[in-house]
């Protein structure tokens, strides 16, 4: 190809560049790229299930309207939300592992207890601990208020949506434990039924441990601050009245403190307010410290506001007069 001074060696390339510089082409390119980006992002967030579903259960059970009527003529939804399976700890375990190979012949009335027992067929150790706990004891007596496996391990209390403990979004991730316990223990009417009057969540959040946990990072290696389970236990949480509870009595409490504060001793443990507010009778030293500083701060700040306020007014008047 002879060299053309006007169009250079590659006239076609020059023409192409000229077209590429036109606004409509740039606009078109932008639209195409945005569409491609949107399509790629959408493919990542699609509602397609990633859970193992060897028997195509979700063909029917993926339908939100699927329901049956049980012997009490109550409508029971049979819908399994596919996105839940995507983040579930058990996404690679087939439905039949829990629902048996002949799921349609089984007619177990589903209760909190039967659900926990089902988890216990694999998680035997945790199930046995839970059976000994105050929650588990109540569960065996048919109390449906108590926390069972899914209440703490699934954000939606749904067995299809159990999240591994080490994932940030898990309700049992260390950083989230106080919130998770708080789902029930902040409910005053529910707690009132069992005589738990202490505002356990609020007092924890005001304490050293609660502040540190709340303001700490999400890194597991740095989540070494105490949360509910450090003192009360996890699967084997005992009632405060149970002498086996790690927080029952000063002796046990001191041993519990010593897990993190070596050599703490009973005197150190006696400084714990027991999730209660200080009153003139209960921890008078703390109560009167609070009152004293409230009075002092109010008085001094009031003095400062008065002096400065009057001064600012005077400066304004002086300026205006001049």
């Amino acid at each position: 190809m002879p060299y053309n001074k006007r169009s250079g060696f590659f006239p076609a390339l020059r023409q192409g560049v000229a077209i590429a510089k036109k606004p409509f082409f740039i606009l078109l390119l932008g639209i195409v790229m945005m569409a491609a980006t949107a399509a790629i992002l959408r493919s990542y967030t699609s509602e397609r299930a990633y859970g193992l579903d060897q028997n195509q259960c979700l063909l029917c059970h993926g339908n939100p309207d699927l329901a049956k009527t049980n012997s009490n003529s109550e409508k029971v939804s049979l819908y399994v939300k596919e996105e839940f399976l995507n983040t579930s700890a058990h996404r690679y375990i087939d439905c039949t592992a829990c629902h048996t190979a002949t799921p349609h012949q089984v007619d177990t009335p589903l209760t909190k207890l039967s659900l926990a027992q089902k988890c216990g067929t694999c998680h035997e150790y945790q199930y046995n601990l839970h059976k000994e706990s105050i929650h588990g004891q109540q569960l065996l007596q048919g109390n449906a208020d108590v926390a069972t496996c899914v209440d703490c391990h699934s954000p939606t209390a749904n067995p299809h949506n159990v999240i591994r403990v080490l994932e940030y979004s898990a309700p049992a991730y260390r950083k989230n434990i106080a919130e998770t316990c708080g789902k029930c223990h902040r409910n005053e009417t529910l707690m009132g039924r069992y005589g738990i009057l202490e505002k356990v969540y609020e007092t924890y959040m005001r304490s050293f441990h609660g502040k540190a946990m709340r303001l700490g990072t999400y890194e597991i290696s740095r989540l070494d601050k105490a949360t509910c389970t450090n003192c009360h236990g996890t699967h084997d949480i005992k009632s405060l009245e149970d002498p086996q509870s790690p927080v029952a009595g000063m002796e046990n409490l001191a041993r519990t403190c010593e897990q993190c504060h070596p050599d703490a001793g009973a005197k150190f443990a006696s400084g714990f307010l027991g999730h209660k507010e200080a009153t003139p009778q209960y921890f008078p030293g703390v109560f009167f410290t609070e009152i004293f500083f409230l009075a002092l701060t109010s008085a001094v700040v009031a003095l400062g506001v008065i002096v400065t306020g009057l001064a600012v007014i005077r400066w304004g008047i002086n300026r205006w007069k001049v």
Partner: protein, 282 residues
Amino acid sequence: MESVSAVPEVQTAAPVNKVLRFDVHQRLQHLVMMTTFIILVATGMPLKFSGWGMSQWWIDFWGGIETTRTVHRIAGWTMLGDCLYHILYIGYGTLLRKRPFPYWMVPTPRDFRDFFQELRYFTGLAKTRPQYDRFNWREKFDYMAIFWGIPIIGISGLIMMYPVFWTKFLPGWIVPAALVAHGDEALLALLWIVIVHLVFNHLAPGVFPINTSIFSGKVPRERYRHEHSLEYERKFGSDIALEATPADPPPQGAAGEPLDAPETPPETPEVKGEENPEGRTR
């Protein structure tokens, strides 16, 4: 300068229109106190208000409480060291250099009269401002507040840092009490600094936007005469010194109003309170 008598000898070195008010130790002590105070507030207040979204964002910004806690402890120890420095400085000046004990820092009945006189002046009930000596009542208040605040905040901070150690010989409730005392005393100090100290020392007419005397040690002569007239007259004689230096340019206020208005107090623009005594902020 530890003593009043130090002023004239330094005066020869300073520019003629400025008067040296704080020596290098006092300036350094104030600088360290100010810096550590700001750092302690920035890393401590988010803990007091840990429920606020802003606190969580701020602490996250610095890499979590693990980072800010370390910074807070270093700053706290530094502040305590600064106070020790000040105590040693006074002890050295008084005992070894045989300077007078800084009695001018001690509140007297006159300060209470000055306080009420100032309030009467602000409200228009009195025509004249109180005449101040080396330190006015606000400066003494700031200074003495540290002698109250540092033991409270220092000891409660140490209790929270080493709770196991302290509960070996103190009752257990001292730890939750320390938490209350530490946070409340800090909030009190912060509010006082913002509401009174910053307004009178930096935002007042005549010094706005910033009063550099605690950092440079020097105060414009005219402002010194206005704000600490009793001390000024004692040292320089009433107006003789001013007349002797007619070439001094009049110090300018922020808004441009000259500070050397005629010596008729009611109509003069109000003057800011002086920087902290003894080189301290609180």
